[in-house]
């Protein structure tokens, strides 16, 4: 249990998707103009990551790794399909996003209306694919670990986008040099926030 909490806290603060790995920067910069919309996108990302990382974990474990196809037939024991992992992960993510969109539309129209426009965007958000690739690279051992990592990374990303949106809302009233307005200052702010987040480095639970 402690181990899981450790992964959770680490994936939110220490290995934050935005500040430590710059993943999902495109939508992070494009959608962070108001807190309300960025909250919507943040929740959608948490949702999708919580689903895709464990599913990709299972795909990786039972289809792709060397010898993973053993359960099908002992003859496949030497097969190594791990070079297919990119195409597999992206297909899982794209189809999961479609599926989630349909399920949400059917069962919770109000949630669909608030998330609706963001869901298709998520299929090409690097943070989602990055989550799956990190899960594969760091070799998480159990399904629980992979799930906790997925949820944690999603929360970390949401935290980052909501906080930058809040700062950018305030920035409207400040006097910034003209060429720096908009994108330029957003970059520098993200850098400063990254420095702040670096203080979490080395935390161990």
């Amino acid at each position: 249990m402690e181990h899981l909490i450790n992964i959770f806290v680490k994936s939110i603060f220490v290995d934050n998707m935005v500040f430590a790995y710059f993943l999902g920067m495109c939508s992070y910069l494009a959608v962070s103009k108001t807190v309300k919309t960025s909250m919507g996108l943040g929740i959608a990302v948490i949702f999708v990551m919580a689903i895709t990382v464990p599913v990709n974990y299972l795909m990786n474990k039972y289809l792709l790794l060397p010898g993973a196809l053993n359960w099908l037939d002992p003859g496949f024991a030497n097969l190594d399909l791990s070079f297919l992992s990119f195409i597999m992960f992206i297909a899982v993510i794209a189809s999961m996003v479609q599926l989630v969109e349909m399920v949400v539309e059917k069962f919770s129209p109000s949630l669909y209306n608030s998330l609706g426009i963001f869901l298709p965007l998520i299929a090409v958000n690097c943070a989602i694919l990055g989550g799956s690739l990190f899960m594969q690279e760091r070799e998480y051992e159990t399904l629980a670990e992979a799930t906790v990592f997925g949820v944690g990374s999603g929360i970390g990303w949401a935290l980052a986008i909501v906080s930058i949106a809040a700062i950018r809302e305030k920035l409207k009233y400040s006097d910034i040099p003209k060429p720096l307005r908009g994108l330029g200052i957003a970059f520098i702010l993200t850098g400063l926030m990254g420095i702040a987040f670096m203080t979490f480095m080395g935390i161990k639970l």
């Binding site: 430590a20 297909a91 794209a94 690097c126 694919l129 720096l180 994108l183 330029g184 520098i188 400063l192």
Partner: protein, 219 residues
């Protein structure tokens, strides 16, 4: 009325413009805000930055070409999945080539080679250009955007490597005697190696570009 349709030369002014515009006034990273994710993570040293720039250029150019060739037969509803499959196939090729020939760089780039798939430059150019244009201009557009992206990558990596480790292409530029531990006055700026400085460097590049080119200023 019969119109004589003249064949456009391969390098007509319009095509040249496709190639050069993305390098400055339509730069994918600093103006269109595309492909930032990977632009920053791989710029600690120049070598991985250049390998990454070449990989992205190749994938952008060829995915633009392929999608443009089949653009009339892709059903609109499933075009994103078709695009992703084409891109993913190209990225797998690039990944295997990197693993075979420059294994150390491929290890340094780790997941970021895979993340070329979701690099917004590629999807963005496919949606905005390749779906509506002929193969040859699309190919040039892909190369142009890859170069524009690569240029930013190389500038950022140059400063980060020079100030952070005192080297360029692992070749020592700042003499070893200058360092404090050898009795000199100089110390590497350790901050430059850490992720946040990449963002600040790009912020400054944007600042300089926009003060040169006032048209790009947003309010």
């Amino acid at each position: 009325m019969s119109e004589v349709k003249e064949r456009e030369p391969w390098f007509s002014p319009k095509n040249i413009k496709l190639l050069t515009e993305p390098i400055d006034s339509k730069n994918p990273v600093t103006v269109l805000v595309l492909g930032i994710c990977s632009a920053l993570a791989v710029t600690v040293k120049l070598k991985p930055a250049i390998v990454m720039a070449i990989s992205v250029t190749v994938v952008t150019a060829f995915s633009n070409l392929i999608i443009s060739l089949i653009r009339n037969s892709i059903p609109n509803r499933i075009r994103i999945i078709v695009q992703l499959v084409v891109i993913a196939a190209l990225v797998i090729l690039v990944d295997q080539i990197l693993k075979a020939y420059v294994y150390d760089v491929s290890k340094q780039l780790s997941v970021f080679v895979g993340l070329i798939i979701t690099n917004c430059i590629i999807m963005g150019r496919l949606e905005a250009f390749a779906l509506g244009n002929k193969p040859w201009p699309s190919f040039l557009d892909g190369i142009g955007n890859g170069l524009g992206y690569g240029l930013i990558l190389v500038i950022v990596a140059f400063f980060r490597e020079l100030l952070g480790s005192g080297t360029i292409f692992n070749y020592r530029v700042i003499p070893i005697d200058w360092y404090i531990k050898n009795g000199g006055f100089y110390e590497n700026n350790g901050m430059m190696i850490l992720p946040p400085m990449a963002l600040i460097t790009v912020g400054i590049i944007i600042w300089i570009q926009r003060s040169r080119n006032r048209k790009l200023i947003e309010d």
